[in-house]
């Protein structure tokens, strides 16, 4: 598989995560709306699983959003250091990605235990397997490993002068 092929696969996976995040947000809204409707109007019966579904969607929103933000580099960081020149900046970027890689490794190794721990539990009300939630941690770790691997290649190519450095720091936007 060529480099561009891997890029394409990661790009497709990234797009899939974006769609998943949108669906999860809608999925978060619906059970809580149902819960409120049943509590205040009595139009619909009171479902007890709504809160658990909401929690489930919520945790997945956080984890999927955290996966997406690694690829587009929008996790909050602090821009304290001045620009050091293209080479030094590339080295620094590489270091940042190595540090994040370490966190990803922790998520994968300990996340595996965490998921195993979850696989023997079910949720209190709806009896959902807790694995469905705990698995988000190792999955986030694996996703980060893939996205960060892509970034390593980029960093090294910038260091070797094969491609120009990216434009200045991205600014997080609320909209």
């Amino acid at each position: 598989m060529g480099r561009s092929m891997i890029r394409k696969i990661l790009g497709g996976y990234y797009r899939l995560l974006q769609i998943l995040l949108t669906v999860l947000m809608a999925g978060l809204l619906i059970p809580v709306v149902l819960q409120i409707l049943s509590r205040y109007t009595g139009i619909i019966p009171r479902y007890i699983w709504t809160e658990e579904i909401a929690r489930f969607c919520f945790i997945w929103i956080v984890m999927v959003g955290a996966m997406i933000a690694v690829r587009d580099g929008t996790h909050f960081d602090v821009d304290l250091l001045p620009r050091l020149g293209p080479r030094a900046d590339a080295v620094l970027r590489l270091f940042t990605h190595v540090a994040m890689f370490a966190v990803a490794l922790i998520f994968v190794t300990y996340g595996y235990q965490f998921a195993k721990f979850g696989s023997i539990q079910t949720s209190e009300i709806a009896g959902l397997p807790m694995l469905a939630i705990y698995i988000a941690w190792p999955l986030a770790g694996l996703t980060w490993l893939a996205f960060l691997g892509e970034k390593f290649f980029e960093d090294i190519r910038i260091l070797r002068g094969d491609i120009p450095p990216p434009p200045n720091h991205e600014i997080p936007r609320a909209e």
Partner: protein, 434 residues
């Protein structure tokens, strides 16, 4: 190892990683790792466990919902209506658009619980207009950024929901306590705008007739109902903060899609995605910050700090000033929500030990953190406003500093006279707030 040594390891590792531009959420998680190997009973497994526990709090669901409601309000063009209303109210003062900017932020703050949505929505509308009318771009950016901090001070407020949920303080009480400081900050900012307008001779609008004012009020009336529904609902116990945030979403959806018809249904997925992603980035930070906070508590660092500070013999005012400085400094470097988790939980026992009112403590913390939204290097609202005005952060700093001075005086006033903020919650909720 003594609590001091562990604290040094935690904070030094975190500090170095952040300076080297490791994202804050990852730096917090990574900083805990060496500590997990100090004690045989700990493993990095705790990191994941604490993250899970922190996300499992139902009250946090309010964060994405309040963000979604704010983004829906922006998309629905409610901001435009509030601008017209503000113009009718304060446009005739010297420096008209500057006052309008402050006024809109105040009104928007009453509708949304997020400052970043405030800066983005109002900035993209008013900064170009201010530039066209000959205002200095640096000043326009600074006013937009500084006035947006009211978003989390005037209820509803995401920060107060998180604070109340975390430290078991009445969220309704916090909301009510935020009203007066919010208005004081708006007034202090309008005074600064007035002085600027006199010096630089900024333009004014013609005074609106009563008819125009009436029209503007009618146009904005439905939007202005939001704070009454949300804050009233929480304060009088009709619904929980999480439910209130969902009601805000439903209300803004109805306004945008059915009544004003300014949101096309096909725009909704993008609004959902943007809100979810922004919420996820700050919430992810909560997880690792909670693990960091857990490590601090496990090694009894807050207790050691209480002993230190009790030995200093600070009273309520001295402690209040110390709390404000601590939050102002940490707010310069990290996002407000993880700052609440890390510092709030450390300083909470200190505040209790000197007999500070929990709401007083919370409001000092929230206002200080709100100011952190416009102070570099990590000032989200300033970054957003600068991006809209297309200037560098460093260019806006002088005007931000000038605007901040009277705002800091308001903070000092609140530290010295807690009754300013406690009067309203005591009046409305005598059963819950003593």
């Amino acid at each position: 190892m003594s609590p001091g040594d562990v604290a040094l390891i935690l904070f030094a590792t975190f500090g170095i990683l952040v300076v080297l531009r490791v994202p804050v959420a990852f730096a917090l998680g990574l900083a805990c790792v060496p500590v997990f190997f100090i004690d045989d009973r700990l493993t990095p497994f705790v990191l994941l466990q604490e993250m899970f526990k922190s996300y499992n709090a139902f009250v946090l669901l309010a964060v994405p919902f309040f963000l979604l409601a704010a983004n829906l309000m922006n998309a629905a063009g409610i901001t435009d209506r509030l601008v017209r209303l503000s113009q009718a109210l304060v446009g005739h003062l010297p420096g008209g658009l500057g006052h309008i900017n402050v006024m809109v932020s105040m009104l928007f703050a009453g509708i949304s619980g997020s400052s970043t949505a405030d800066a983005a929505g109002i900035g993209s509308l008013l900064i170009p207009q201010m530039q066209k009318q000959g205002y200095d771009t640096r000043f326009s950016v600074a006013v937009t950024a500084c006035s947006s901090v009211m978003g989390v001070i005037i209820p509803p407020s995401i920060l107060m929901v998180v604070w109340g949920g975390l430290m078991s303080v009445s969220i309704g009480g916090l909301f009510l306590a935020g009203v007066v400081p919010g208005i004081l900050i708006a007034l202090s900012m309008m005074a600064t705008v007035y002085v600027y307008a006199r010096i630089y001779d900024y333009p004014i609008y013609a005074q609106s007739s009563l008819r125009e004012l009436g029209n503007a009020v009618a146009q904005a009336a439905l939007a202005l109902m939001t704070p009454l529904i949300i804050v009233g609902g929480i304060v009088f116990g009709f619904f929980t903060p999480t439910e209130a945030s969902v009601i805000a979403v439903i209300y803004s959806l109805i306004l945008g899609v059915f009544i004003y018809r300014s949101i096309a249904p096909r725009e909704l997925p993008k609004i959902l995605y943007d809100s979810a992603r922004f919420a996820a980035i700050s919430l992810f930070c909560i997880g690792t910050a909670s693990a960091f906070g857990w490590a601090l508590a496990y090694f009894q660092i807050p207790r050691a700090l209480v002993a230190e500070i009790e030995a200093m013999g600070l009273g309520v005012i001295g402690t209040g000033i110390m709390v404000a400085v601590a939050f102002l400094v940490i707010g310069m470097f990290i996002d407000a929500i993880p700052a609440i988790i890390i510092l709030g939980t450390v300083l909470w026992p200190v505040a209790t030990s000197v007999g500070m009112h929990p709401i007083h403590f919370a409001i000092i913390g929230v206002i200080s953190l709100a100011f952190g939204l416009v102070t570099p290097p990590y000032g989200l609202c300033l970054l957003i406003a600068c991006a809209i005005g297309k200037i560098r952060v460093i260019d806006a700093l002088r005007d931000v500093a000038i605007l901040l001075v009277p705002m800091l005086l308001v903070l000092l006033l609140i530290i010295l006279l807690p009754d300013i903020i406690l009067a309203l919650p005591r009046l409305v909720m005598p059963k819950f707030v003593n």
